[in-house]
Symmetry: C2
Subunit: 447 residues, 2 copies
């Protein structure tokens, strides 16, 4: 700690560190008042490069709007839902809100809820999404979304873990790994943080990485259908993934946020369809892209009973302890919305919504293909991944914004292997998707 | 990492660690399949004693109910609001929910919101609670509650910090400090975690600690009105607190979750009333106890522009980066509720609600005083802190539960200096508070 007595006599240092002020008391004396705190910045957070991807893109978009106030911007950028929430679901939430204004309603749903989520919602999630696999309601922890759970998972596992990620991948995996202290410094040459294992996924390996590179990893983040590439892993690929985890003793954090977009019967909708996955996998999922809940904040994480740390203790127990200490349950009205999503009517409504966005994806995919680009994804995912043959993806991003007033996401924002690509999100009103397709054709056609 | 080749030949170890299975491939070979992962348990989480306090108490309550199915339990335990949310607020939330079912409504509020909260809500919070002090809307970060923000603050500051807490205090401060790696092991003799500085607060020091003990602390958690003692710090005490922070260069994490319960004009409702606090304090607050939002999840944290790390960088920038990476905004319907709370009608409704709970507190305080106990708090806070003259507080807790079917909170659950006390929460229906008072008088009167 700082030695104050020394400072009083060393005026140059004093000036540098703070200013003096008289203090009340019997013996009036001069003490330091710090202009800055003495608290050092967290060195792990200091490692982070630039801002988090999507706020950064939003900043650039706002700047473009400022300079071009008449621009009619279309966003194919952040994967943000645009269609209204189906009314059976909004009506259920409205009823839940009204209900909190009554004595009985408040008694039932008003106070602190269980940190793990409402029992009925956990049961319904188990019934709707895990009926065919070995997952129980008690393995499901309701939360305010996958992004939030990813950071809480980092907090549960703690620092100095060896982490592997798909490259490209959703930036929260890497950024949260940096923040918790699982990486070394950023290397500007490789565009990678030290110590993280980047598992390149490209058309050359069918977007399934060489897992041999991850043999020392303790935690592997794996997202299917993948954000941003739109690739959905096949059953055989996931069997290989689970076998790898079982052989190396690693734990897979499997992000299934887009599982509902899978049409291919050969691609599992949950990792727990794979035998043994309940001994090596955690799965996160979310209502965000299922029912337009991006702003409502409702997701879940599955931590199976059989998943154990090296010492044999249950991962689930530590997850429960962390959720009870660092979280206080998802908003009760959002949970009422979740229940409505899982009714027969809600399931049908979600299915229609997802079909609508998938049609958008088809339009975008076809557009780029007709324009002469190599395009991936867009079939089992709401993302279309377009190759610009190795061009700097921020440069492409800027060109698309400048020429077409369209916001996309630069591929390199998802990791170095994403450079040369842009991600187009299929979340948008139909007329905007069609208009975007038209604008892109006018400015970027190759054929 | 685990050496597999060794394991194949050492069958006893093999048996202990996993089982073998044949693997497909050209050269069929035997590999280990781990029954447990190789991922070691986070040693910091392993330090935590028992479960988080309130779920633990709930567990004991449920057990009591199982054994006494006819018991009419009254909870004065966890500070959980019981009165309906005022209808102007629920109606605003119902309208917000319905609105998400329309194209325009969804466009305005439906998708991802700003991670920092809706601009209008931040502005309204600044206007209602910080108009007289040097805090702007841009310093206010809306969240899903103080408990969640406390863990995120720990994540921002990172591990190996020297932390000081009031003793007794809200258990999330200590538990989250343990989890992030700011403590050594728990010592069963002192009932303290190593390295944390416990600042005893008792009637002997007017519930204001000897800050000299915290001279090496980097982070000081300070809650006023205090949970559990109900003590609200005076202006002079807070001037001393801020002066201490400025002199030592520490940062105060000031929990003002109960500020609305302050009646005493000599007790500030925000730490930012104290000159210089904006250079050394973060303040967390919440709608939970203001408007019955415990289950809705809405709070805020103030990180002033002038608060700097030792290197001169802004704490606010790192907080913003963390919130963007680990959080995705509070639920939009809850934020609509927050806006309604801050309307003139909502402010009046909150004021009535708070007055009601304060009357409950008066009833409980008077009851125990009439019964011959030394009682603290209950005047500027919804908690009544009752001395049982050094008796083991879990023993008192059990006796109160067994004799009266009343759940209270054992003082030692808030830290070792809380032993000998119980905390009674004033959140309850009036008839239950009166009934509880009656039952307590029958079994615990001293006079």
């Amino acid at each position: 700690m700082f030695d104050h007595t020394q400072c009083v006599v060393r005026s140059s240092l004093l000036e540098k560190l703070g200013r003096t002020l008289p203090v009340k008391g019997r013996h009036r004396k001069t003490v330091i008042v710090h202009a800055n705190s003495n608290v050092r910045r967290n060195p792990n957070i200091a490692k982070l490069q630039a801002g988090y991807l999507f706020p950064e893109i939003n900043r650039i978009k706002m700047k473009h709007l400022e300079e071009n106030p008449d621009a009619k911007i279309i966003s194919l950028g952040i994967g943000d839902t645009t269609e209204p929430i189906p009314q059976p679901i909004t009506k259920a939430m409205a009823a839940a809100a009204e209900n909190l204004g009554t004595l009985d309603g408040y008694a039932q749903y008003g106070g602190y809820g269980a940190e793990q989520g409402q029992t009925l919602l956990r049961e319904k999630l188990a019934e709707r999404f895990y009926a065919e696999v070995n997952i129980q309601a008690s393995d499901i922890f309701v939360s305010d979304g996958s992004k939030c759970d990813i950071s809480r998972l980092q907090m549960m596992f703690g620092s100095n873990r060896r982490v592997a990620v798909q490259d490209p991948s959703y930036p929260a995996y890497v950024d949260s790994s940096v923040m918790i202290g699982n990486t070394e410094m950023y290397d500007h040459a490789s565009k990678q943080y030290g110590k993280i294992v980047y598992l390149a996924c490209s058309s050359e390996n069918d977007f399934f990485p060489n897992l041999g590179l991850a043999k020392d990893a303790e935690l592997i983040f794996f997202c299917s259908p993948n954000n941003p590439t739109g690739a959905a892993a096949t059953r055989d690929q996931l069997i290989e993934l689970v076998r790898h985890a079982k052989e190396t003793g690693s734990i897979i954090i499997y992000d299934a946020a887009y599982a509902i977009y899978i049409s291919n019967p050969n691609c599992p909708k949950t990792i727990f369809e794979i035998p043994g996955a309940d001994e090596c996998c955690i799965e996160t999922c979310s209502f965000s892209k299922y029912a337009g809940f991006t702003g409502l904040r409702l997701g879940w994480t599955v931590v199976p009973d059989k998943l154990k740390f090296a010492d044999g203790s249950l991962v689930k127990n530590d997850w429960n302890r962390l959720m009870c200490t660092s979280f206080n349950g998802a908003s009760n009205i959002a949970q009422a919305g979740g229940m409505a999503c899982l009714s027969d009517e809600g399931m049908n409504a979600m299915s229609e919504l997802v079909s609508f966005y998938k049609e958008n994806a088809t339009i975008l995919k076809n557009t780029f293909e007709e324009m002469g680009y190599a395009v991936y994804g867009g079939t089992d995912a709401p993302y279309v991944w377009v190759s610009f043959d190795g061009r700097d993806s921020w440069e492409v991003f800027t060109e698309v914004l400048t020429k077409c007033d369209i916001v996309v996401t630069p591929g390199s924002g998802f990791g170095p292997a994403g450079d040369g690509f842009i991600r187009c999100s299929a979340f948008g009103h139909r007329e905007n998707i069609l208009e975007a397709a038209q604008r892109l054709k006018e400015s970027f056609s190759r054929s």
